[in-house]
Symmetry: C2
Subunit: 351 residues, 2 copies
């Protein structure tokens, strides 16, 4: 007999594969129509099979955030991997060098120190492609001015083992115009200096429906495969697009209004991202009001028999990316059918 949701123990992570397919297709169509390349970030799903599917649909390659994730994706057959991170230290540089032998790899740098580390590690027979990370308002990593970007590009260009690969930014939320202005200014300075910039990598899921044009040639959305409550708040998707939910069981009804689920911060995380509640109960307007490590508490607006002890609900999480990081396996579902149970191959690749 086919396996259904009723056969699963809880908490369990459900991935609606029909919604995944629709989400991936819609994003790729937007990229094709607007003339930018899609380079999806796999941090959200951490599954080689979905990365392969993204590439099959037209993605130019994938993005990862950790060297360990890149290694897992290379093992999974992905051949074009962007690691937009400053890779620092001898052990990591050795791993990076080994990885660069296997796949078309690109990384970022935002300082002369980081470039020096790359330059000392790589040689002309198998050069490393390095993009310059630009802080266009996000306030995280990145050079602060176009002049610094230019200086770093020159340092990269002078190293025999390195190839200048372009510019990269993680744009500030709601700051796409400012970010694009920064990059446009930088591109003008590079043009004046006679340095070609083949690739300008930007963007993320909240900005993914922005029209094309402008300085960015590729975008790196991640969450768009699953979406989540935050993406819905940011108008990137509707609740009906959310493909990742957590199946939970009611384990306690201490009062007529209090409902306690078997999902706490160890399965939902405590990410609020500026919202009320730690997740939305699918098909309702109820949110999880309080979390401890292994319990989630819903406060019903009025006394209610529903849901009873033993009944199940599905939770749309605030932030889908961090959920994949907490579970060893996820359940691929279509409607109520459980199609497959898959290990989260790149989970826990912390370094």
């Amino acid at each position: 007999m086919a396996k259904t949701l009723a056969d699963l123990d809880t908490p369990a992570v459900l991935i609606d594969i029909d919604r995944v397919e629709a989400n991936l297709g819609r994003a790729q169509a937007h990229a094709d129509q607007h003339g930018y390349r899609l380079r999806p970030h796999i941090k959200t799903h951490k599954l080689p099979r979905f990365a392969q599917r993204q590439v099959a649909l037209g993605a130019v390659g994938i993005t990862v955030q950790k060297l360990g994730e890149a290694e897992v994706m290379a093992d999974g057959g992905l051949v074009d991997i962007f690691l937009p991170y400053n890779i620092v230290g001898g052990r990591k540089l050795a791993r990076l060098k080994a990885l660069n032998q296997r796949v078309a790899l690109s990384v970022t740098a935002d300082s002369p120190d980081t470039v020096a580390g790359y330059a000392a590690t790589f040689s002309a027979d198998r050069p490393l492609t390095v993009l310059v990370e630009c802080d266009t308002g996000g306030g995280r990593c990145g050079v602060q001015t176009p002049a610094q970007a230019l200086a770093l590009a020159r340092q990269i260009g002078m190293a025999p083992g390195l190839r200048f690969g372009g510019l990269m930014t993680y744009p500030p939320l709601h700051g796409l115009d400012r970010s694009n202005a920064w990059l446009t200014d930088a591109l003008a300075q590079f043009r004046t200096a006679g340095i070609a910039v083949d690739r300008v990598s930007g963007g993320n899921s909240p900005d993914m429906w922005a029209p094309g044009g402008g300085p960015v040639t590729e975008r790196r959305p991640g969450t768009y495969i699953y979406y989540d409550r935050f993406q819905v708040k940011e108008h990137a998707a509707s609740l009906d697009d959310c493909a990742l939910t957590i199946l939970a069981t009611v384990v306690s009804r201490p009062t007529a209004t209090r409902v306690v689920l078997d999902t706490g911060s160890k399965s939902l995380t405590s990410d609020l991202l500026g919202m009320e509640g730690f997740g939305l109960i699918m098909g309702t307007e109820l949110t999880i009001k309080a979390l401890s490590e292994e319990h989630g508490v819903i406060e019903m607006p009025v006394a209610s028999d529903w849901p009873r002890i033993g009944e199940r609900v599905r939770i749309i999480p605030n932030h889908a990316c961090v959920i994949s990081n907490l579970f060893d396996t996820v359940q691929l579902v279509s409607g109520d059918a459980v199609v497959d149970t898959v290990p989260v191959a790149a989970r826990g690749r912390v370094d």
Copy 2:
């Protein structure tokens, strides 16, 4: 050559075994002196070896929060396990029954439904010990009144496969007096009803130095093995007692005051627990001001060359328990020496 901190890749979780030993010994001595039993919660460390050590030092048994954790600890040789959780549903009850054959097991219930599930599963040849969970102000699970506790104890007592094991509470933070008053009132009602209450289980790390006496016969602290920034704020420990730190590398210095570490919400979680910052840099007063998934940002109070790219710092996390849940392995250290690298056996046991 002996392995040291310098040989580790980052981020890495460091467990200072000398501090662990001191923390465990001090807590057991307090329990012995004040006449209560210690039943440590293993959610914090998730390591059978530390659970064994806690028992060797005098703990009466251990506490776990998930059935999967209990199974791992039983595999690890632990023989007296308390699972203070409503276990609901056929699949979980079958696992609970199998576990009850292997170890001295006790669980909780806070509703007639949960007790009915236990009663239908267990039989007199191998009864299950069930404590009644009491909401003494914590606002999570638990019966709301001593009268409800009494009714539930009677339901347990009438089931041939169940044995009434006493009362359990998760006391509210800063509400020990209120919690004890609730329990004292309940015990009086049980006495009047002629029902013996052998065991009253309460307490946690923030309350662990409260004097003995009162209704509680055993306490279930967990975090006290490692402590963390929250426990220090709650005066349960000093910073010098904190045994778990995260080793991080500086990967970017975008400005003279901004320092970016290779540790984000996927290695620290976003738990704030009412504090400023997502962790404290050991040996300093600096905290992590902002987190993204794989980056942590420190803002220095004044322009500073230190720390440079490639330098390492140790982070005292806000909440130690959730860290063990994110890493597949932890490093046992003594001073700068890495003594052992151990898998976190009960990590990811979500159900």
